[in-house]
Amino acid sequence: MNQKQTIKIALAGNPNVGKSTLFNTLTGLKQHTGNWPGKTVILAKGSFSYKGKDYTIYDLPGTYSLLSNSTDEEVARDFIVFEKPDITIVVLDATTIERNLNLALQVMEITDQVIICINLIDEAKKKGIIINENVMMDKLGVPVIKISARNKVGINLLLDTIDRMITGNISTTPYQIKYSNEVEEKLKQLIPKMDKIVGDDISPRWLALRLLDGDESILKTYMRRKQMGEGEEKSDGYK
């Protein structure tokens, strides 16, 4: 078999968390679009291999949230929703986890296949921040890995976790944000209707939330894509 399917990985994270550093560490020089000094504004794409599997990794724009307040956020969100990466790695800054976790929770509303990377762990140690990743893993229901992308700490564990997730040895039950009773009640009314249209393609709960929030663009995009051709792979759409 030399026609191996490449596995698609997305890197999400707030700005300034060292996402690009991790991207560089993983891909080395195998990048297709150089991201120009530091900040990733365009979607950079790179590749690497591990244990005989080929991976393509996409460096999403750094955003605080996925609630579509800007083009960057829309790009990041649409990629996770429509391009359906096999794994989405959310990179957190160990020194500002509280803020970063917001994005992680939002990603976990969209997809199950999530790995949390706590980056800059050496920096956190210096500042006397102690993170119990086991408890966090319990709470979040997805793998949580401490890394330092620039010092290449924890990269092997990350690669191994990716590998085991792809082979199905790790199953996840991502934490779902609970909303107020009022909102949850509304969701209950909407979600069943959602199933008929989107099926398993998009998390109905997440989509219902977006609709309640007045954002119809996702459903529209979904319908358009569906008409253009059932589930056509559009992996190069973000070249």
Binding site: Y64, L67, N69
Partner: protein, 88 residues
């Protein structure tokens, strides 16, 4: 809660910690501010003025975010403590 205690963020002294009560901003800017952590009940510390006095940097949810007067004057809260004075 007495309304007299509410001040807008731009009126805060450097070092003041303010608990946000309400935002009088609408549209995209409101969404953006919310995303950055300027949510009701969040605590914000005024940390640094730029050399020319505006914008002012605030620490919110572990990050330092600079806001112009146009925005910070529409975020209201109450001073809960002044870090530079005491910590008791």
């Amino acid at each position: 809660m007495c309304n007299n205690n509410l001040i807008s963020l731009d009126q805060a002294e450097i070092g003041d910690c303010i608990k946000i009560k309400r935002l009088e901003v609408t549209g995209t800017m409101r969404r953006r501010l919310l995303d950055l952590g300027f949510v009701p009940s969040a605590k914000v510390v005024a940390v640094q003025k730029s050399p020319l006095g505006d914008p002012i940097a605030y620490e919110v949810s572990q990050t330092i975010i600079a806001l112009r007067k146009e925005e910070s004057s529409k975020i209201f809260g109450e001073v809960v403590k002044n870090e530079s004075k005491t910590d008791d």
